[in-house]
Symmetry: C2
Subunit: 163 residues, 2 copies
């Protein structure tokens, strides 16, 4: 498949993000709204919003994206807020490519740490394995964070020069 | 000293928050701006902003405050974003009173977990001791989070009924 990647955000990305995040089956309605709000924030405020995006397109169709940004009041730490790929197109390394692109963008900006968080629920087993495969380590676990029995797991990666 | 506490936010609180947070000596210019932005957000959007406040007043003067809010996409987890007391009025249990008030408000809303974060730097030794005295436990530590050598330390407390 021929893939292209872009950083700029377009008004239509609102719908692409909603479609991809909703189709993933991993997120609640409230979480989907948050994903779309970040696109709106970026579109309204530009770079000062603190949200950066990478979109993956195949023949003009957005099939995956990632959203990241510098963590306020830190020197070089970044959060990976979202990474999602269209369900039918998983297991082809697209998530990995998006991740590598995000990390290289962060490294270019002088970033040193990347954090990503997800849930301890079995639904997110593949997500947690994905972070580990991408070289992240589990750096914290907060029991009962999302709900009773649903912990927040935080992953962390230290970027090296030229990463 | 006769203390009163209030939850409602007034336009003048912007300046009170800036004064108290700046005078504390604990926060950078960027962090002070964030503290004031949360007041603005609350004033502009009301409760949907997600930011709740408690102000402590003595003879009409705001001498301390706390800001907290439910964490998006969680069932009953809250962040304590800010807690600060005028420097000349510390060591009188005011921080503790603010904390207890915040925790009782959170418990009234059905909250179960409270999280607070601070830095590992020696400047924040008293802050970390304060959380421990208030019954919080250190639940995570992220090395080099704020900057190289400056870890983020996360404290957590599980509220019990009637707390």
């Amino acid at each position: 498949m021929e893939l292209t990647f872009r950083d700029n955000v377009r008004p239509s990305d609102r719908d692409h993000v909603r479609r991809i995040v909703a189709a993933s089956g991993f997120f609640t309605a409230a979480e989907i709204d948050v994903a779309v709000e970040l696109v709106d924030e970026r579109f309204a405020k530009g770079s000062p919003s603190g949200y950066e995006f990478v979109f993956a397109e195949q023949e003009g169709r957005v099939i995956g994206y990632a959203c990241y940004g510098e963590i306020a009041c830190t020197v070089a730490s970044y959060d990976l807020y979202w990474i999602a790929v269209e369900p039918g197109l998983r297991r082809r390394g697209l998530g990995r490519q998006l991740m590598q692109l995000v990390e290289s963008r962060i490294a270019q900006r002088g970033g040193r740490k990347v954090y990503a968080e997800t849930s301890s629920r079995p639904l997110y087993d593949a997500t947690r394995e994905f972070y580990l495969r991408c070289g992240y380590r589990e750096s914290a676990r907060f029991p009962d964070f999302y709900a009773v029995g649903d912990a927040k797991v935080v992953y962390e990666k230290t970027l090296t020069r030229g990463c």
